[in-house]
Symmetry: C2
Subunit: 252 residues, 2 copies
């Protein structure tokens, strides 16, 4: 870095473009990069996040880094002990269970309300997101051998977009934000499963599950849609749980 200060310059490699009317501070940029990297598993669960290390890695100084870490802490991606600094939130079955069940509570309620309030745009949004997800899933499946990171992360974005579209009309900022946060938390657990492909879906047809959720939502069958959504998340959760148990048993 040169000696010059630079607050608003966007960095190459930013994934989420920010709203044009909200200039990014360094703290904001640091938050986004750390958020992305923690979810991507760049830092291992439990790993201490030393400020000196982060300063070197990202080129920000303490203040913006601390601000970012504080935000991440309130989203449970980072834990902090007073006077002992920050660490990546460790993995645990217990935490994943709680995150999953809370996510089900929040998203099912949001889906219920969206089904009640949903207009044509809502339906169109779901159909479009499902289609994009389906295309990308086929694309990844068609790849011979290991799919690249780009393909997988594109798939993840589509997946998140689909789930976002389902609950988009719930009319509650709190529920939407909670869903976003809980998605990030659980995503972290899902990641090793995606890249490894070792513990793949077995007898599961995930695209079919998505389609069934969509169909029930569009047909305004709340009970069915929420039940399917909950089952969808619980299946993933159970799968991860088994893998975590297997990995720790294997002396990981």
């Amino acid at each position: 870095m040169s000696g010059k200060r630079n607050v608003a310059q966007p960095m190459a490699g930013d994934t989420q473009p920010r709203a044009a009317d909200e200039p990014a501070t360094l703290a904001e940029t640091a938050y986004r990069r750390l958020h992305r990297d923690i979810i991507a598993g760049v830092f291992a669960p439990g790993q201490p996040l030393r400020l000196e290390l982060l300063k070197q890695r990202y080129g920000f100084s303490f203040s913006p880094l601390r601000e970012a870490l504080n935000r991440l802490q309130s989203e449970r991606l980072v834990v902090a002990a007073a006077l002992r600094g920050f660490s990546v939130a460790p993995f645990s079955s217990e935490e994943m269970r709680d995150a999953t069940e809370t996510r089900i509570l929040v998203e099912c309620e949001a889906l219920r309300r969206s089904i009640d309030n949903g207009d044509d745009d809502w339906e169109a949004g779901i159909v479009a997101a499902f289609h994009a997800l389906d295309l990308q899933a086929r694309r990844v499946k068609a790849i011979l051998g290991e799919p690249g990171d780009d393909d997988l992360s594109a798939l993840e974005v589509r997946h998140q977009d689909f789930h976002r579209a389902l609950i988009a009309r719930c009319r509650s900022r709190r529920l939407l934000d909670l869903a976003e946060q809980l998605y990030a938390e659980t995503q972290r657990y899902r990641l090793p499963m995606l890249t490894g492909r070792a513990f793949a879906d077995e007898a599961r047809d995930v695209p079919l599950e998505h389609r069934q959720i969509m169909d029930a939502a569009l047909a305004r069958r709340s009970e069915e849609a929420t039940a399917l959504l909950a089952a969808h998340y619980r299946r993933t959760s159970a799968l991860i749980d088994r893998n975590m148990a297997a990995q720790t048993a294997a002396g990981d």
Copy 2:
């Protein structure tokens, strides 16, 4: 303040004693004081929180104050605009409705689980908290004229303790933390009603409502208990809503 630095010294006037194994940093102390003061209405909703002002008022320097404000922002007690600093979260009917409904979603689920898991200690905790609340409520009611701040804030503490006791066995850190946060948010709206006493309870018997919730919970009647709890919160919310409308109509 003298020129000396001071990290761990507790301040007089701290309400919540901290856990003994977690030494308070200045940022932690600043967070607690600001949290308390915002809820107590020391700063008006919407008021900008200039750092220079806070520095003078509390004696902390920028870093701990910013850290505290960031935490409060993620709890929606404070809003921030990039490069334009922090303000107390403004009041709005819409926000209160969302906070109330989210609180109902979260606490009803937590109550349901507590009823399923509740042991003898859970029951004892509820009975004790109810008793303490009831005593304090009678004490306040018996006071001639305006009750003092101490009496009212003691009442508030008892009230919160009672609601905490109800959901104490839900076995979900996330639900408990969310309930805590949503309590703080809605508490802010309730405050003017308490002190003013102008818009008091009308035909409401709040102690009776509490007793009915308790009875249903102890009798393990989930459906009834959650319905009563939801109604309890919605009544308060509706009352506040009317007052807010009246106040703004009166050219406030």
